[in-house]
Amino acid sequence: MTLARRIIPCLDTDGARVVKGINFAGLRDAGDPAELAARYNAEGADELVVLDIAASRDRRPTFLETIRRVAAELAIPLTAGGGIRSLDSARAVIRAGADKITVNTASVERPALITELSREFGAQAVVLAIDAKLDSISTAGSGSAAPHWDVRIRGGRDSAGLDAIAWAQHGVELGAGEILLTSMDRDGTQSGFDIALTHAISSCVSVPVIASGGAKTPQHFSEVFSAGAADAALAASIFHDDTQSIRALKQFLASQNIEVRLPC
């Protein structure tokens, strides 16, 4: 008996609709969140993540309604995030039907938020989202072989001035129960997960790590589980546009002797 590796589809929304696009540029509609949620639930997804990538204050009620509609379709856990800056905004998301919440920029700006959320909802409900980008200057300058990843905030636009490994470890000490790790270098490239980054973080923290960014083929998932030591892997567009069915992906992973929960 060991934990199965998890496959997690992600719904990036503008609050109401699922959208596709890189860095908010050229967003296009990718469907209704509740319809996609129902499909993934039936196909054997292990969890679902729904994010409000706009996270504007006036769209908040719309996003909460989206969470309610998505949760109603699921018999699997739901994580929601985007714009959670306080205990109150987290509570609203959990009351709407989310089992876990993700925090990113707000927790970099005020790390105590992680502890407040963990005390209120339990560590299992607090997912620290880290957007990491390879810092080429330090890698070239130090002469050392060990790469360094910088934490990016505000949708990847700004540097947080933090080392991704150190921030992940600190986040866990503060009370995060899981890390959602996105490689900014791979996100949107479909060239595979960042194995070195995922392994570096996964081997340095005591909580599960969800790898994100760059997935396209079943082989990419297999690599991030075996070489990357990821506990879960997340992807968005390849599932939305039917490039990859979750069922077929899990059958492939099972054939590679990776433990997955096969849908019946």
Partner: protein
Amino acid sequence: MTSTSTVALIDYGAGNVPSVERALQKLGVTSKRVTRPGELAGVRAIILPGVGHYAAIIRVLDAHNLRAALLDAIKRGVPFLGICLGLQALYSCSEEASSLAGLNLFSGSVRSLPTTAKLPHMGWNRLHILRTSQLLAGVSESDYFYFAHSYAVAPSPGSNEVVATCSHGANFAAVLEQETVFATQFHPEKSGAAGARLLQNFLGLAARMSEPA
């Protein structure tokens, strides 16, 4: 609907109360949220959902005077299902909040899982079924259930209530069943078709148990 056909969901503010409610609705069962002892009178079954910190569940049970009413209902044979913290609350105490007394229906303490494995134990895992169980009818060791916890109960040789274990760094109690008391460390309301099956089994047992002899 009469009160005797009602399933009571103890609402101590846990995040998973709405999920359990929805899961029951999908099985065609309406539940009522209970926050006061008087509301437990005449219910056909009781579900104690829970997720998060052990202290939260125990404090609210005591603050709302639910402890005695809950134990009384269980002793009268009202079918009971504890979920996650709702399982842990049935034991004497927990390392997570050692100053608080549990419901002490079963002896033993809740302890942290070994830190040699990643904690929380989060995700889908399988059961090792120790003996025949009504709650697990139709469930096999190839079915996966969703877990999200860092604390658990180690099964001791004398603990007859444990019908299935799971393993994450160490073996722990995953399913309890003793007469009309049932509990799961995992979340059946989040465990897809296998979880729905288990909830259906509990509702079926509750319906049969509440029939006049």
